[in-house]
Symmetry: C2
Subunit: 283 residues, 2 copies
Amino acid sequence: MSTGPTARPDLARLSINQETIKQWSLPELAEGCAAAGIGAVGLWRAPVQEYGVEAAAKLMRDHGLTVTSLCRGGFLTAPDDAGRAEALADNRTAIDEAATLGTDTLVLVSGGLPPGDKDLVAARERIADALAVLAPYARERGVRLAIEPLHPMYAADRCVVSTLGQALDLAERFPAEEVGVVVDTYHLWWDDLAPAQIVRAGAGGRIHSFQVADWITPLPAGVLLGRGQLGDGSIDLRDFREQVDRTGFDGHVEVEIFNEALWARDGAEVLTEVAERFRAHVL
Amino acid sequence: MSTGPTARPDLARLSINQETIKQWSLPELAEGCAAAGIGAVGLWRAPVQEYGVEAAAKLMRDHGLTVTSLCRGGFLTAPDDAGRAEALADNRTAIDEAATLGTDTLVLVSGGLPPGDKDLVAARERIADALAVLAPYARERGVRLAIEPLHPMYAADRCVVSTLGQALDLAERFPAEEVGVVVDTYHLWWDDLAPAQIVRAGAGGRIHSFQVADWITPLPAGVLLGRGQLGDGSIDLRDFREQVDRTGFDGHVEVEIFNEALWARDGAEVLTEVAERFRAHVL
């Protein structure tokens, strides 16, 4: 783990995923994090592309910020040749962008079921097929692919990989330097098998990203923007962090919260609150 | 499996959970099912209580209807003595109601996390403690308790039992005649471990209820009323039914769909459609 020169020791492991403070532009994010003594960020492709990938890379370097991950590649479940070729091309671009940004981790949201399709097993196999093409390409560029298991409520329309066990079943077909997993508390907290799978992931050197958000209810329509601020929900975040750390993981903990109420507030205020909650509930 | 005298052979395994046609009163349900050649229904406590439990039992008998299950007991995760005593008393009442209705199966929705609580493991243990009290009471009255694993999106606020594996871990602490499980496609379809757990449940004689609904997106706010009509979604319902049947199960298949669009339509029209979809997608 490398931290920027301005990072506060108590926040040395904190990485702010930019979607958590979506109201901020990339320069606001870079300046805000640097001013707050936070040395790492997670970025998303669309705002990076809009700003310019090279320019975004320079912006982060100039502020001493480590880019812990780029979100996201994936959507690899298209059944037809054209859809598959398009997805592979887009993922190669995402890998190039990650390399330019200097991050070693591209997060993959694997994709849901095609319309009318009911075969989860076959969809997961198509992901493996695509990884076999993409993993060497990524490795040549110093980028690791990180399969993110998404909560089972996204299995149909977003990601057929729903558990850490499933993600590891896919990842372990490849070397750990090429394909690993994302451990995200929001997606995994309910699973009584997750602790054993965290051990498995850590032992294999496959925890490429560790993300935290809390679980709050009621869920909003579409269930995308209902993630909770750290400490507001049902997840024992510290216990999760300790489980991950016990495997030998000492990397960044990326705070990734999609929550419209947070987006409606002043960005600097949200950042201060996230840092406080991080100390209170994660460290 | 017993079927009413009027049951159509092709619908002999079909049971209509009354929440699927919530717009119907109990007499409308009884008359509608009997007229359509459907011999079985699943009932809910609130409408049965409103109608009168004895009267509802007579109504079903008079129409030759088998009551395949009563929904629902459960909510057994209260951490305090008063909350626990209240839950046990309510579940004893539910067991009595099931016995009066002549159904052998009380469905349990186990309960979520108490406010401020983050300990899923302890909550699941409290369910086991409550089952130890309730199971003998139920057995004396000819009623089996059926733990329903609910989709993980309900783990915080409704049911900390999220997978068939977890449900069986709880159920197997008791004799199969006392405690079993509900296999519901809506809750389990995403889980790659479900097929093995269905085999486990069947081998142990613990499939006390088999329910079907389809998975459609986007999910509505609160994620309670977004179940899909059979065939409208992502679940291979026939494959599920065949998996369950291969264990030796030959009981009713209960259609339980919570969907406001279905509730807004004419009840008889919905029943006809459910029967058609049942033949097309489940049998």
